[in-house]
Point group: C2
Chain length 148, copies 2
């Protein structure tokens, strides 16, 4: 059994956030001793799932829906599986998007590195696509379209 302060340190989440989650109904009938919240292993597990689903881009109200299903027992296994499969696709897509973003950023890093080096001023005009290394060119055009 942990206090809210201990859980706050354990998960590196402000106490106010934990109380907010509780207010939103994310901790299904959590125990209390004279008004004070007692976090058990169940709430620790719940918080791990919350963190995972949040990082996957899910909103609190949808996380609550999922946690409600968990309270309803085995009859909701199928819904829960579908939900995680949907999250899996969402995260995979986000990783693809971020890799494309990284391509653009790498191009910009290459560009400004060139533009900055050897004194660095007034060199911009001299930068032409022929200077672009093949892997940067490939990444750039996958991100922005062809280098004309």
């Amino acid at each position: 059994m942990y206090s809210i302060g201990q859980i706050s340190k354990m998960f590196n989440l402000p106490v106010s956030t934990l109380r907010y989650y509780d207010r939103e109904g994310l901790f299904h009938d959590m125990q209390r001793t004279s008004g004070i919240r007692r976090f058990s292993q169940k709430e620790v597990d719940t918080l791990r799932v919350i963190e995972c689903l949040k990082r996957s881009g899910m909103e609190i109200k949808d996380i609550k829906t999922f946690l409600d299903w968990c309270e309803q027992g085995p009859s909701t296994y199928h819904k829960r599986l579908e939900m995680f499969q949907k999250r899996k696709r969402a995260v995979e897509e986000e990783i693809v998007r971020l890799n494309r973003t990284l391509d653009m950023i790498n191009y910009k890093c290459w560009y400004y590195t060139r533009a900055t080096e050897d004194g660095g001023e007034e060199k911009l005009a001299a930068l032409s696509p022929e200077d672009m290394p093949d892997e940067i060119r490939a990444a750039y055009s996958s991100a922005f379209g062809p280098v004309e």
Copy 2:
């Protein structure tokens, strides 16, 4: 030259969002003809950078700071390079986080797939760590800690 409506379709962004970006000063002295915004190649390029930086997790006000540097010429190349290098690290870290999130999600998918198959009800109790395939076990423990 494009109208705001054309750009809206081109970038799949609502007209209201483009006007909001303009209000926030993201399009440095954009041209107008009798009050109506005219988007040139410069604004198209700016929007590509905005989209990239937004996906990298940057806030509008910081994107504005960057775009202001762009208007200040070569003296800001170094700042701009540093900024993109910081973005690069942020995106790389986010990709790592998302891959860990994916490990947890894959574990959950495995778990609920098992729990759902062959009739599916009341099978949960029978699920033990020995049933866990090695790659799921490895992913799970890297995400949640060891399977006890």
